[in-house]
């Protein structure tokens, strides 16, 4: 089940790892995404710290980690096809993390309410 942060990342738990990506709202706000940077497998990520830059033609946005832990996989396909985030934001996971700590997340309903404001 997808959960969300107030900084527009989505989080999906799968056993003892979580996948993280950008929400549909975020990709729409950014417009055409043309570049994504990703950490390496083995890197550590920290709650509230940026782990990626996502760039549209007009702007750069940082993606903040909703979890603390070790990166066990990255979606390298995004490096060559960053537009996948626009096309299918919930398939276009960015990193998979063995999380030791997770920030307080919003349910899909809560997030949809949040972005209406």
């Amino acid at each position: 089940m997808k959960q969300f942060t107030k900084t527009h990342e989505w989080v999906m738990s799968q056993g003892n790892t979580v996948k993280v990506g950008l929400s549909d709202f975020a990709q729409k706000e950014m417009g055409d995404i043309v570049y994504v940077s990703l950490p390496s497998v083995g890197d550590s990520v920290t709650i509230g710290k940026s782990f990626s830059d996502v760039e549209s033609v007009k702007a750069v946005s940082e993606v903040f980690s909703p979890v603390t832990g070790k990166v066990v996989a990255v979606n390298e396909e995004l490096l060559d096809k960053p537009e996948m985030i626009n096309e299918a934001p919930y398939d276009a996971w960015m990193i998979e993390v063995e999380a030791t700590e997770t920030e307080e997340l919003l349910t899909e309903e809560e997030y949809n309410e949040f972005i209406k404001k």
Binding site: G31, V34, E55, V57, K58, V60
Partner: protein, 358 residues
């Protein structure tokens, strides 16, 4: 204060994402998205609201002398119906604005100036009027649209008889009727493609905009926002005031020397004669992954030699490019650009980045 253009309601109706630019509220893009809009102009046609541009009307026996003194290009030899690009300089040789001069007759010219500079230019021109010259700022009276792309002429021809369509690049026709309104049509633009800029009474703008979209739909015409206007002009290496040009950059430092005529008099000429250029404008292609943005520093080894004036991903080329302002004496092939703390290698390449094939 943020003004609306005559097309504000049309933008909202077409799903424009509205932002503030140069004192006006304009669409940065529509639902089609920046890249699709960019490609429409490169491959078919796009229409832009450029009503925010300022129209300065200069007339009278002194009009020629006034314009000639205000600008660094030379308007001698312009025929009625010609357009000419130029810059207007301050006393230090810096750039007050860049614009196109329209010649209606020996005693009647237009200067079409940048939106954000209109109030400043208005004051500057008023302070530099020579005798027998009448200056009227007609910016509020006119709407302006840019119809751009390889299919622009075909689309315009559906509303305008061929004999009223300006044939040569940088020429214009006057008193052309579109949807019952008298228009000026010039073969000019800011995209690197063939195309037209249409000036019409403000009240007729929306009607003409919708009519063009209607007759152009089969040829792929879509409304386009400021976002792709910027990427299109950037690929064509056309300077944007406030980025490649400003009051502090010497006119001889911005890669536009062919528009500076030192064999005539103009405001700022003495400063240009006395101050050698220290910088130059160059184009670079990024060799490593990443996108250099405006204000990123440019290095030769450890030495900072300049900065990025415009930089982004080029939708047409598919990689990141940038225009940089760097020391004139730098003659290397590669530079490094600081992108948020990371050095990215970039290669000096020929400008323009994109040139249309005829």
């Amino acid at each position: 204060m943020t003004k609306q253009t005559p097309l504000y309601n049309a933008h909202v109706r077409h799903g424009g994402k509205m932002v503030e630019f140069g004192g006006f509220i304009l669409p940065i893009q529509y639902e089609t998205g920046l890249i699709a809009e960019h490609n429409a102009v490169r491959n078919d046609a796009g229409i832009f609201d450029v009503s925010h541009m300022g129209e300065f009307d200069i007339s009278g026996k002194g009009a020629f002398n006034t314009v000639q003194n205000l600008i660094c290009n030379d308007i001698t030899g312009m025929k009625d119906g010609d357009c000419r690009y130029t810059m207007m300089l301050n006393d230090n040789g810096g750039i007050v604005d860049d614009f196109i001069v329209y010649k209606f007759s020996d005693t009647h010219y237009w200067l079409v100036v940048n939106a954000g500079n209109t109030p400043k230019d208005d004051a500057w021109v008023k302070n530099h009027l020579l005798s027998d010259t009448v200056f009227v700022n007609k910016s509020e009276e006119y709407g302006q649209m840019a119809l751009q792309g390889p299919k622009a002429e075909k689309i315009l021809n559906k509303l305008v008889d061929e004999k009223f369509i300006p044939k040569g690049n940088y020429t214009f026709t006057d008193d052309v009727e579109i949807c019952g309104a008298k228009c000026v049509i010039s073969r000019t633009g800011y995209t690197g493609e063939d195309g037209f800029e249409i000036y019409c009474p403000a009240t007729a703008t929306e009607k003409i905009f919708e009519k063009l979209l209607e007759v152009g739909a089969n040829d792929g015409l879509i409304p386009c926002g400021l976002g792709c206007r910027d990427t299109l002009r950037f690929e064509a290496c056309m300077p944007l005031y406030g980025h490649e040009l400003n009051e502090d950059f010497l006119a001889t430092e911005v890669g536009l020397n062919i528009f500076i005529k030192m064999d005539k008099d103009f405001v700022g000429k003495n400063a240009l004669a006395q101050n050698a250029p220290k910088f130059k404008r160059k184009g670079v292609k990024l060799l490593d992954r990443g996108i250099a943005r405006e204000h990123s520093d440019v290095f030769d080894g450890d030495r900072k030699i300049g900065f990025v004036t415009t930089g982004t991903h080029s939708p047409t080329l598919g990689y990141a490019i940038a225009m940089v302002r760097i020391e004139k004496d730098f003659n290397g092939d590669t530079v490094e650009i600081d992108v948020r703390g990371k050095r990215i290698k970039a290669q000096i390449v020929k400008m323009p980045f994109y040139k249309r094939s005829y």
